[in-house]
């Protein structure tokens, strides 16, 4: 038995293929949109993974350090390190800011980590070039997305840092690439005002008779010195000894240290459900609309393709072809169109995804789901055309 659908496609294969490609580009957009959503979620997950922490210890009553500002004393970690079940604890600071390089600036999340220990919490997990921070100061490890390369000198606040290492996929939940610098400088960067502001602050302190007492020499200097130090960090990252329950350790720290502690699942909830919830919904809404539009376009294409050969279908009916054969021809064409569209869409999405400014994650699972959805949509879309084809009067073949 000859394939009616195949014959028909071969008859006008160029047009069929072009239609498939056009549909494919639309499907590519839909897949990319799903990829963008997945990328956002992945950014949040990667932030959790890259910190290397099992627990986040932050200021009481805050959702820090990513979703809300938090500040705790820098020596808090000592007490936490002594708690049962804690293997390692490290201070960390996060600050999203513009990092200047030559005559441009890059939006980045500056992460202050305790240098020296490879594999310590907060350190970048892997590098693509260079080396980790060692005890040195004024060095930085940057994500390749910043566009920096090894040996570049970047300016963060008043200090200049030499890029000694490059890493990948170290981004904030907002998709900004990370730059790792030693903790002490990061504390300064977070706190340090510009020179003019410092000068004005000094002047204001000098003008305050409470601080500038003639009878107490040295008081003014002491006050100014105390104003220009920062003994705060944003969070303490905790890695646990194996065999301990994170919830129990978190509960202990919360109870005895009077601090807020988040475990990995809680942090994921904060990042995914709270921080990116609105933008995720936005993208989800757009994804739904795109799917509906794609389905409608497939339906119209199949319908117009069927309508274009309505006379031939009438002839088929006239010569006694069964309805099933005609329906299967239309269905096969719809599925073929869907398949070509999917293949083109997947290729297009993969090819253009690296050019997106934010990370686009195309998961194989999504591709499979997308394929099933395209096929289902094609089937549903062909129903309209099949109904129209089956309703056609065989007399039309010889009529007007």
């Amino acid at each position: 038995m000859i394939s009616l659908a195949g014959r028909d496609i071969l008859h006008g294969w160029g047009r069929f293929l072009l239609t498939g490609v056009g549909l494919g580009l639309l499907i590519g957009v839909t897949l990319s949109m799903a990829g963008i959503y997945r990328g956002m979620v992945d950014d949040a997950n990667v932030l959790i993974e890259s910190s290397g922490a099992d627990l986040w210890v932050v200021q009481q009553g805050t959702l820090g350090p990513y979703a809300e500002p938090s500040s705790i004393y820098e020596d808090t970690y000592r007490g936490i390190r002594g708690m049962q079940g804690v293997a390692r604890a490290a201070n960390v600071t996060y600050l999203t800011m513009q990092v200047r390089y030559a005559d441009r600036d890059v939006r980045a999340m500056v992460v202050g980590v305790v240098p020296g220990g490879a594999g310590e919490p907060g350190q970048p997990g892997f590098l693509v070039a260079g080396r980790h921070l060692i005890g040195s100061r004024y060095e930085a490890v940057a994500d390749v997305k910043t566009g920096f390369s090894l040996g570049d000198t970047v300016t963060i606040r008043r200090n200049r840092y030499r890029v000694v290492g490059l890493t990948r996929r170290m981004v904030s939940s907002g998709g900004d690439p990370m730059i790792f610098i030693p903790l002490k400088e990061a504390q300064q960067a977070q706190f340090l005002k510009d020179n003019d502001a410092l000068l004005q602050q000094r002047r204001r302190t000098e003008a305050n008779p409470l601080f500038n007492r003639p009878s107490v020499p040295g008081l003014l200097e002491a006050v100014i010195a105390s104003q220009t130090t920062n003994s705060y960090v944003n969070a303490v990252l905790v890695q646990m000894k194996p065999g301990y329950d994170p919830d129990v350790v978190a509960e202990n720290i919360q109870r005895w240290k009077r601090l807020q502690v988040y475990t990995r699942p809680q942090m994921r909830t904060i990042l995914v459900d709270k921080l990116i919830a609105t933008s995720a919904k936005q993208i989800g809404m757009f994804l739904v609309i795109l799917s509906i539009v794609s389905a409608a376009i497939v339906a119209f294409i199949i319908y117009t393709m069927t309508m274009a050969k309505i006379r031939e279908i009438a002839v088929l009916k006239l010569i006694g072809t069964r309805n099933r054969v005609i329906a299967s021809m239309i269905l096969q064409q719809a599925l073929g169109l869907g398949a070509i569209g999917f293949v083109v869409g997947k290729i297009a999405a993969t090819l253009w995804s690296p050019f997106f400014p934010r990370y686009v994650l195309l998961e194989p699972g999504d591709a499979v789901r997308g394929f099933v959805a395209v096929m289902v949509i094609s089937v549903l879309a062909s129903i309209l055309a099949i109904t129209a084809a089956l309703k056609v009067d065989p007399a039309e073949a010889i009529g007007g």
Partner: protein, 389 residues
């Protein structure tokens, strides 16, 4: 038909290539390095400010008003040079009054001496008379009454002479006391002068003539510019071998390209409890010319003695997986995670491996994404030391 396949087949091939070469199914490009046994020389990096070893704060010991300041910031002064003066108020007048009192005391001494001479003369005469009358009485030429009267006169004259002598002594003591008092005033007057204790450079002028200063308040600050050193802070991490006499390289913030050589002069016995840093003093081998300003930020790199040869890997190859620190070893075409214990690191990021790795093993240095035991990898050309994946 053929033409359709000519389009469809490449499309399908491209599709499978894209599906397998991107996303989670794609192999991870990695670079590999051979573990070497070699000596490393750890370095410590510190940050500090330029300070003067000897800094002087010159101030008044009494409260008062500044009369004059003779020097300005940047002036070179010599030991003993008067740099300023506190207004003496009435001290000069009190001194000239005291001088008059001293002169009066001198006159009083002379007067007492004259009285003493007068009393002495009377005493000599009365004693002679008493002696003569004594002889006359023994010859019964005068009455006993007359002889006794002369004897009494002689006694009175002796007592007057003693009193006059004591008067001279008292006048001398009075003179000495007044003179000492005057010298005290002179010293007080001298104390109002602000003097440079050593040869040095004036760094601050904190008060101006007419200002009132408290006792102890600093008026002029000066340093000995030859005694510049750097107050350096080193992170306590890996600083076990830091000690005095180690060579240091110093970079001043104002001269970033220039490296000065120096020496660790001493390691402070007290570390900073809050910042977790060690404090040390580093001196220049040769002082930079022109002298950098005190308080300038300096970076100091101290080279520690070389360590014994051990297997060494780049620190980028060390990862923590499931709480264990280790490296990814290439075995055949697969990966194995080997737990290691790490030692010291040097400035180039070479890390000693104390346990868990032998020289000659091939370990992953850079990877395009995080690795796990089942990761498919492609090894890129690792001849280049640094390769951006």
């Amino acid at each position: 038909m053929l033409r359709l396949f000519a389009v469809l087949v490449p499309l399908l091939l491209l599709f499978f290539y894209v599906a397998l070469r991107s996303g989670p199914l794609a192999p991870v490009p990695v670079t590999v390095v051979m573990v070497e046994t070699k000596q490393i020389r750890p370095v410590l990096f510190g940050i500090g400010t330029l300070e003067a070893k000897y800094a002087y704060r010159i101030g008044s010991v009494t409260s008062g008003r500044i009369k004059l300041i003779k020097v300005d910031v940047g002036d070179v002064v010599h030991a003993g040079q008067v740099v300023g003066e506190i207004d003496p108020v009435d001290l000069d007048e009190r001194m000239s009054a005291q001088l008059s009192v001293i002169k009066r005391a001198e006159a009083l001494i002379r007067s007492a001496q004259a009285q003493f001479r007068d009393a002495n003369a009377r005493k000599t005469f009365a004693t002679g008379q008493a002696k003569r009358y004594g002889l006359l009485q023994s010859a019964r030429a005068v009455s006993a009454e007359s002889a006794e009267a002369k004897h009494q006169e002689a006694e009175i004259a002796r007592a007057s002479a003693s009193s006059a002598e004591a008067g001279v002594h008292a006048a001398r003591q009075e003179f000495a006391s007044l003179k000492a008092e005057y010298q005290g005033l002179v010293k007080q007057r001298h104390n109002l002068l602000l003097l440079a204790p050593v040869d040095g450079l004036v760094t601050a002028r904190n008060a101006e003539p007419g200002n009132t200063v408290l006792a102890g308040q600093t008026v002029i600050e000066m340093i000995n510019p030859r005694s510049l050193w750097i107050d350096v802070r080193f992170d306590q991490l890996q600083s076990a071998d830091l000690k005095a006499a180690l060579p240091a390289r110093i970079t001043l913030r104002s001269r970033p390209g220039h490296i000065f050589s120096g020496l660790v002069e001493r390691l402070e016995p007290l570390a900073d409890r809050i910042t977790e840093e060690l404090l040390a003093k580093v001196v220049f081998s040769v002082l930079p010319e022109p002298l950098p300003p005190v308080g300038e930020l300096c970076e100091v790199t101290v080279s520690l003695p070389p360590l014994q040869a051990l297997p060494v890997v780049p620190n980028a190859s060390v990862h923590r997986v499931d709480g264990r620190l280790g490296v990814w070893i290439i075995e055949g075409s697969g990966l194995r995670f080997a737990e290691v214990r790490t030692g010291m690191a040097d400035r180039d990021g070479n890390l000693q491996i104390l346990r868990g790795l032998q020289a000659g093993a091939r370990v992953v240095v850079y990877s395009k994404s995080a690795l796990h035991a089942g990761s498919r990898i492609t090894i890129l050309n690792s001849n280049r030391k640094e390769l951006t994946l």
